[in-house]
Amino acid sequence: MNTEQKLEILTGAAKYDAACTSSGVNRSALPGLLGNACSGGICHSFSADGRCIALLKVLMSNDCTYNCAYCTNRISKDQPRTSFEPRELADLVIEFYRRNYIEGLFLSSGVVVNPDYATARMVAALSILRNDYGFNGYIHAKGIPGTSPEIVSQLGHLVDRLSINIELPSSTSLNQLAPDKNPSSIFAPMSQIRDSIGESRQNLLEWKNRRESRKDSLSLSRKDDSLALKLAAGCSTCEVQGTCTGLDDCMPAQRKLGRPSRFAPAGQATQMIIGASPENDYQILKTSANLYAQFNMKRVFYSAYVPVGDNQIIQRNSSLAESDGSVPLVREHRLYQSDWLLRFYNFSVDELLSPEAPHLDPLLDPKCLWALRNLDRFPLEVNRASADELIRVPGIGPTGAQKIVRARRSGALDFDALAALRIVLKRAQWFITAKGKYRDGLKFEHQAIYQGLTSDEARKRSFREVRKLEQASKQLVLF
């Protein structure tokens, strides 16, 4: 099989993974090394489904021995199986990167033979990239549950972001749909990654302090400093000998500066498949909140389930699904919106949903939903409200709140001024007053607001009955 055929198969096998961000770490370019990383992330293309393409998203191999019901690569599915050779993949990454096609690599793998073997193959490819080719761009790798800690550690020192997929929002569902994985094999590496990231931050901090104090006492310039460090014993493969500790666990960029090698500097992420199991939105968000709190996750990704081949277990379990078994994208979208509210707007899950009202509204974004339930807090006078209050107004986010606070220093704002600031008045107008006045022609009343906010959405889609089965599903929780 040639590289092109492999690429097609191993891309097709990886495409259902939602994460494709290249964000979270700033690593400046260094002379002699290819690439850098920008913390904001850069997309390089958009596929026909409208999703961004930032990284070369492929599997190392789709030759998986597991049989997870929701997965397109499960062993019971009849399809061609193939694997990249480590160097073949590394070459592909370099050539694509040089042409500005990609920001880096997103590497995952089916469980070939066993978790250790499969992960070691990924480590081999990444080691060629980092150590042989001096690749300084972004790498995101997926760890496989059940991999031994030593190999996870090697992997973590080669990549910018490392993630273990939680796959499903509860352990009951996990047992049912992914019989080869179990919660402890997922949480063990997650904890390891969290601890290693913390340790590596600490080491870097200490190194920086040491360097500062040495500079003070010896008044060494930065250049002399790195010369001094070169004398320290380093690993044999390093171009410039630094303080790195082993063959596979240092990035070339860090080596050049003599810094301690870092473990997944862009942090840890995970992914949950939505709608392949019966959990409601409240349970899903509770799980997310726990993941953020317990493992310092940078991101939890949600992937609306796409039926991959006929599978009876899945069909039976999907209560909120479309007729073909797939999950409406709007559900994934509403979960992402709520996720943002948790992380950047200081909302808690219990403010948004409750066990009694456990679902997000397909017609209304979660912030509007919350505002409608808390009408006693509104309308808010934009010229007086604090930034914390402003970010809770639908249509105003952290950026908008900042702009309002800055702009109102030069004089009170009216609705025209707010429009000039690009505040989304379509939503915000219902919840604010400007210069003491509510917007002309609007009525501050629950029914009117609900209709005003949903009319656009309702026009966009014929509102099917999405909430078919709301069986009081048992509290299926992981934590």
Binding site: T3, E4, L7, E8, T11, G12, A14, K15, Y16, S28, A29, P31, G32, L33, L34, G35, N36, I42, C43, H44, S45, F46, S47, A48, D49, G50, R51, C52, I53, L56, K57, V58, L92, E95, F96, R98, R99, N100, Y101, V306, S326, L329, K403, R406, A407, R409, S410, G411, L413, D416, A417, A420, L421
Partner: protein, 250 residues
């Protein structure tokens, strides 16, 4: 009607601002020397670009208005809008008169246009960083020489060269702006800008096509066909940019 003319450089424009302050007058327009059609009621005042003058204005912006303001002006100067000179002039007048707080007054008629323009130029700059596609050209250089052709709305080439030069410091390359006839040349992390009228682009090397095809294969394979969303794709990746994207070739 008083019109300042300048040499079509950012330095020249800053000198116009210097003149307006020292001569205590308000020009009605600031225009480029070349291609100016003289009309009867116009009084022309040609401004000579002087290093000392523009440096004083730049330092003034840095000190009084901050780095971000300088960055905005630098970016807005790259815009193709015909009246960008007067927009920048009025923005700076406001800033110098009222200090930083004036620049925060984003809904003010002298401030808002620059904010909008900055957003528009910034978007274009970002798009070029995202969508510039390099191809290897035929050369004897063992590192390989790469070339990208771009067609930006605004003349953002000077704003993207820092990024590419740092990232691709191991490969010499050219970025050619076919709309504004400019080329940026980079080697070892250093770059220069050169005007590029009627240039002949070098030949693409034969093995580059192989990678273009591989890239297209990846692009087609990564799409989830059940979720085709043409509107969304075009919102993020405007059609006018497709002609230089290997993945969008039929």
């Amino acid at each position: 009607m008083l019109i300042y003319t300048y040499d079509n450089s950012l330095e020249g424009l800053l000198c116009c601002i210097f003149e307006a302050y020292t001569r205590k007058e308000q020009p009605d327009n600031i225009a480029c020397e070349q291609g100016l059609q003289y009309q009867l009621e116009q009084v022309l005042y040609p401004v000579v670009t002087t290093d000392e003058h523009w440096q004083r204005v730049r330092n003034g912006i840095h000190k009084k208005l901050g780095r971000l303001a300088w960055q905005k002006i630098r970016a807005c100067y790259c815009a193709t809008d015909a009246d960008k000179e007067m927009l920048i002039y009025r923005y700076l007048r406001q800033g110098f008169a009222r200090g930083r707080v004036a620049l925060d007054d984003i809904s003010h008629p002298d401030i808002l246009p620059i904010e909008e323009l900055y957003r528009s130029v910034g978007m274009e700059q970002q798009r070029m960083i995202m969508f510039a596609r390099f191809a290897k050209i035929e050369s004897g250089d063992p590192r390989g020489i790469y070339c990208a052709t771009i067609n930006p709305k605004h003349s953002v080439l000077p704003l993207v060269m820092d990024h590419f030069s740092a990232r691709f410091n191991v490969q010499p390359f050219v970025v050619y702006d076919e709309v504004h006839q400019l080329a940026g040349l980079s080697e070892n992390g250093q770059w220069i800008l050169s005007s590029a009228e009627d240039i002949q682009l070098p030949k693409i090397s034969s093995d580059d096509e192989e990678y273009q095809n591989l890239w297209k294969s990846f692009y087609d394979a990564v799409c989830i066909p059940e979720r085709i969303n043409e509107k969304r794709r075009q919102a993020f990746m405007p059609k006018r940019l497709w002609k230089h994207l290997p993945e969008m070739r039929p």
